[in-house]
């Protein structure tokens, strides 16, 4: 499986997330890497097919709160 490229610094900052935080954060379900989706304000785990919401700069890393990627928002 292809892992997505390393997360660039600026998108994280635009969501109000400390970019250093993304260096240590992984998907709680797959332990795979996360991508920042600035437009939707989400942290995306492709491997798990889940998008975790970021509310006021606080990532909500719970599978139960995440959007399934095939779902329409």
């Amino acid at each position: 499986m292809n892992s997505p490229p390393a997360v660039p610094v600026s998108p994280a900052a635009r969501l109000g997330i400390d970019p250093k935080l993304l260096e240590i954060l992984v998907c709680p379900v797959t332990h795979g890497p996360l991508e920042v989706d600035v437009g939707r304000g989400e942290l995306v785990s492709r491997k798990a097919g889940l998008a975790y919401p970021v509310r006021d700069g606080i990532p909500i890393m719970l599978a139960g709160e995440a959007r399934r990627l095939e779902d329409k928002p």
């Binding site: 400390d18 935080l21 240590i24 954060l25 992984v26 709680p28 332990h31 006021d56 606080i58 890393m61």
Partner: protein, 304 residues
């Protein structure tokens, strides 16, 4: 086997977060005692994580009055299961909502993992310890304070008595806690080097047993054990339990003590620079010489 219902715990923690300042004294005290242990370690920990951060008490305790941080922590990631707590903690620095039971931390990404008064709710403590060891860089430190087996023994005893008096049967009302011996062994099994576990007790004085129960609820610490009876909060049982508590432990003015045991767990992610036991047979001097005595073969009686 799942012991604790994490969803119930989450709901309790969200509720506790709303009015946290009145209930946070024990968390603040334990956080302070925990981070003071960093003062004895001459090392800096650039990236640290706080598992179960509540209102950011560890972050607050890490900050030194003259600026800077204990343990020279540069960034601290605060994790809590409850969004209400993550929001409170975010005033002190980065915070996320995640289950402390399965922290979403990359392998070898942290220098220090801290936690105060959160891990007693974890179902799979051995599993969590292993996850933490992996999340640490080599020579990274795991340093946590959790509630131990002696915690609330008075309350446990009185509620058990009350329940058998009132309902003729027992169900677990106060969560079971790990004890000191378990803790040290678990650290070792999780692959930590130089594991140390020790404990101390903090006794809190309450005006009466109901004040203690209210306080536990405010702390988000009331019973989250799976398989609780639906009749858990039966008033008669609690009232009877409170009466027994006052009878057995109350002082002249009716005030009652409640014991909290705090276990401190301390272990390092293995690294070549750490001290290790020597290989058997590699000694270069004799024990008998060091003790200035005569070496005798095993099985021969000494001083015959």
């Amino acid at each position: 086997m799942l012991l604790f219902d994490r969803e119930i715990l989450r709901a309790r923690r969200e509720r506790a977060a709303r009015d946290w300042d009145t209930a946070s004294f024990l968390k603040r005290e334990i956080s302070q005692r925990l981070v003071e242990r960093l003062d004895d370690i001459r090392r800096s920990f650039a990236v640290a994580v706080d598992l179960g951060c509540h209102g950011g008490e560890i972050a607050a305790a890490l900050a030194l009055p003259g600026g800077g941080s204990r343990g020279d922590v540069r960034s601290l990631l605060q994790i809590d299961l409850a969004e209400g707590f993550a929001r409170r903690a975010a005033r002190f620095g980065p915070a996320i909502v995640a289950d402390e039971e399965t922290p979403p931390l990359a392998i070898g990404s942290c220098d220090l993992i801290l936690s105060a008064m959160a891990l007693h709710w974890v179902n799979d403590l051995p599993g969590l310890l292993t996850l933490c060891r992996r999340a640490l860089r080599p020579d990274g430190l795991f340093l946590v304070a959790m509630l131990g087996g002696e915690t609330l023994w008075q309350l446990r005893q009185c509620l058990a008595q009350a329940e058998s008096d009132v309902e003729s049967g027992l169900s677990p009302r106060v969560s079971p806690f790990a004890d000191l011996r378990d803790a040290a062994g678990l650290l070792q099994r999780a692959g930590f080097a130089l594991p140390v576990a020790d404990s101390e007790t903090i006794t809190v004085d309450y005006p009466d047993p109901l004040a203690l129960m209210r306080d536990l609820r405010a702390m988000g610490e009331s019973n989250a054990i799976l398989g609780r009876r639906p009749t858990l909060a039966r008033r008669a049982t609690l009232t009877r339990g409170a009466a027994i508590y006052t009878e057995r432990f109350g002082n002249a003015t009716g005030r009652v003590p409640a014991t909290f045991e705090v276990l401190y767990l301390h272990g390092w992610a293995p690294h070549d620079s750490q001290q290790k036991p020597l290989r058997p047979g590699s000694a270069s001097s004799r024990l008998a010489d060091a003790l200035q005595t005569v070496e005798r073969p095993a099985g021969e009686k000494a001083g015959r």
